[in-house]
Amino acid sequence: MSLELTDLSKSFKEDKVLDGVSLHVPEGKTLVLFGPSGAGKTVLLRLIAGVIEPDNGQIKISGVDVDGVEPEDRNIGMAFQNFALFPHMDAHANIAAPLTAQRQDKSAIQSGVQTLAKLLKIDHVLGHKPKELSNGQKQRTALARALAGKPKILLLDDPLRNVDAKLRFEMRLELPRLLSDQNATVIYVTQDYKEAMAFGDEIAVINDGIVQQIGIPEQIYLTPANVDIARLFGDPVINFLDVRLQKDAAGVFALISAKRVDLDASYSHAVGKDCTLGIRPESVLFVSQDHESAVPVTVEAETPLNEKTVNLCLTARGREIMASRPSGTDGPENGPAFVTIEAANALIFDKETGALIEPYKTTAKGKVA
């Protein structure tokens, strides 16, 4: 079943939470809704579920408008942040509930519950009542219940939020496969960009009730539509440096600490403009010697970050630049050093609006039909 949202708006009193949201999720695909808290993600899920009604716009499931259709008749599975478990039933009975409702036989129910519980690492607490479960376990029980009935449409609201790093990683590997095996059409809400990239066939970045960008994960990471989105994807955070694009006989360039960063000629339309240059830490490289593009910095600190090592550097004017490299590779000592910026991976944003300035040659933009 596909899901199509057209021009959805919703206000609570004066507060416009969603403003003209249109999204399309093809059958069997997962769309990740990504954005900061308060962006309107959860409200959107509740509209689709039918728990609240839109002020404006249309929701179609498999091409049929569901306006007026009761939540229980929409064939949607949900795991919401505060989606209460049945308090009088243990975890097993909670997960089994959709299967019992479908009148499946006992052995099918038993194996269905066991498989999901094992996958979500809650098989040891199946006999516990909700009040005896930790928050993370409650969340996973709700997730298992949502998955158990194999609904054609699944709405998952940050289901791994309270889960520790190790388990979160395992889930990140296993859940997308399960969802695609079930051929479910999924909307998955998260604030974790790694989860967004791992789960999403497409990612919709939503902020202040507006969809700011839709695209495949790679597109969002490589060509974020604005500085806010660039900042939300990547760890450590992307570096931003204020620059003015210039041009001479040798081409388009920007100066950082009076050192030249050569940019693609296709940026010539932005020459003279005040810009923000965005460069990811993995594209800041240490070089051993001074040369015309080597920016002098002071290395302030070195910190390990998962499978990477990160150096915090300061330019002569005290601007922070983070550089990262794979663990186990050689890096600089604290103190004076030189870095170069991989210009091919630089992003140029309009300083005033924050919007990405695309090089002229680029063709298709982020929007997907």
Binding site: A198, L232, V237, E307
Partner: protein
């Protein structure tokens, strides 16, 4: 040892009666040096917060001693311990502005008004709360309150700074930004700080040494690099590291020329004997059954090697996380570039002796790291 700032000596915490109640902290001993940043890391219920609360004086010590700067303090009330604290629920004064909340921490000491004002501006800028300095605590968000509380603790003059999940309420991007700045702030001033966190990324980024706790016990107390390179046991090895360390049960067979490990699923890893120290080989001969651990970034894909089958390949922008079935279990690889591997694809993997950790199967204690016997 004159430069020990904090000394925990065989500290126990029981909730309820001693030896009968819940044993939350079990004979924890550690020495924190002046100017060090320490992270207490573990999952919920591991005893890390109880430990911090005993240092702060919010919990009584059941057994053992705590000294700060050589002075035994575990029987003193919190105000006499000269520690600065940012605790969850250790709230701001609601009737004064954020600026005054932060400044108040300095007023009683010998600073001029101009000096205090400048210091408040500086720390507010660092923590990105300059814009809310003149607001009242009730009108700012939870994340802003947390940063105000952190500012109030860090601005003080104290022997020891105790920070309980200081960035727990903040969004991931802000947390990343502030980590580096907070570390630089603490280091520039030579402060001694203890941080409680369940977030290993934060612990790795901020701390000089990490105290890994589980079940009330100190599992390992070492630098992030040492914990990564030389995990004391299987718990530390698999808890710290994202993605987690790969582990495989194996049977070691040692001959004069080779060291080989039989894994499940008919996988055999075979190496020249001299790749392993003679002391380790002698130990392995006695052992037979062991557990092998290999970090995801150390798993190498090669033309020839042990067979594995790709289950998933996730590209995260700057690295690929590849999951595969291997030796009757699962294996995770990290590569720092985009790979085109797809589900069901056969690959060959190689594990270098220098990247292999070996553990005792019963106790989980480490036998060797990088083909060298521990200790």
């Amino acid at each position: 040892m004159s430069d020990v700032m904090l000394d925990l000596d065989a500290v126990d915490k029981f909730y309820g009666r001693i030896d009968e109640g819940v044993h939350a902290v079990r004979r924890v001993s550690m020495k924190v040096m002046r100017g060090e940043i320490i992270a207490l890391l573990g999952s919920s219920g591991c005893g890390k917060t109880s430990t911090l609360r005993m240092v702060a004086g919010f919990e009584a010590v059941s057994r053992g001693k705590i000294s700060i700067g050589g002075r035994e303090i575990h029987t003193l009330p919190p105000v006499q311990r000269n520690v600065a604290m940012a605790f969850e629920g250790y709230s701001l004064y609601p009737t004064v502005t954020v600026r005054d909340n932060i400044a108040f921490a300095l007023k009683s000491s010998a600073h001029s008004a101009a000096d205090v004002a400048a210091k408040v501006e500086e720390i507010a800028a660092m923590l990105e709360i300059s814009a809310i300095l003149d607001k009242y605590p009730s009108s700012i968000s939870g994340g802003q309150q947390q940063r105000a509380s952190l500012a109030r603790a860090l601005i003080r003059d104290a022997d020891l700074y105790l920070l309980d999940e200081p960035m727990g309420q903040l969004e991931p991007q802000l947390r990343t930004l502030l980590r580096g700045r907070i570390k630089a702030y603490i280091k520039e001033r030579g402060l001694t700080a203890i941080l409680v966190t369940h977030d290993q990324t934060e612990a790795n980024a901020l701390a000089d040494r990490i105290a890994v706790m589980e079940d009330g016990e100190l599992q390992q107390f070492a630098s992030p690099e040492d914990i990564k390179k030389s995990p004391a046991n299987l718990f530390t090895g698999t808890f710290v590291g994202e993605p987690p360390m790969n582990v495989f049960p194996a049977r070691a067979t040692i001959s004069d020329t080779t060291v080989s490990f039989q894994l499940r699923g008919d996988v055999e890893l075979s190496y020249a004997a001299d790749a392993f120290s003679s002391a380790l080989r002698a130990r392995l001969i006695q052992m037979g059954e062991v557990v092998l651990g290999v970090r995801p970034y150390a798993v190498q894909r090669r033309e020839t090697g042990s067979p594995a089958t790709v289950v998933a390949n996730q590209w995260l922008g700057d690295q690929s996380h590849i999951a595969a079935t291997f030796a009757g279990g699962s294996l995770v690889l990290v590569e720092h570039h985009r790979t085109q591997l797809v589900e069901d694809q056969k690959i060959a993997v190689h594990l270098e002796p220098s990247d292999i950790h070996i553990f005792y199967p019963e106790t989980g204690m480490a036998i060797s790291h990088g083909a060298r016997l521990v200790g």
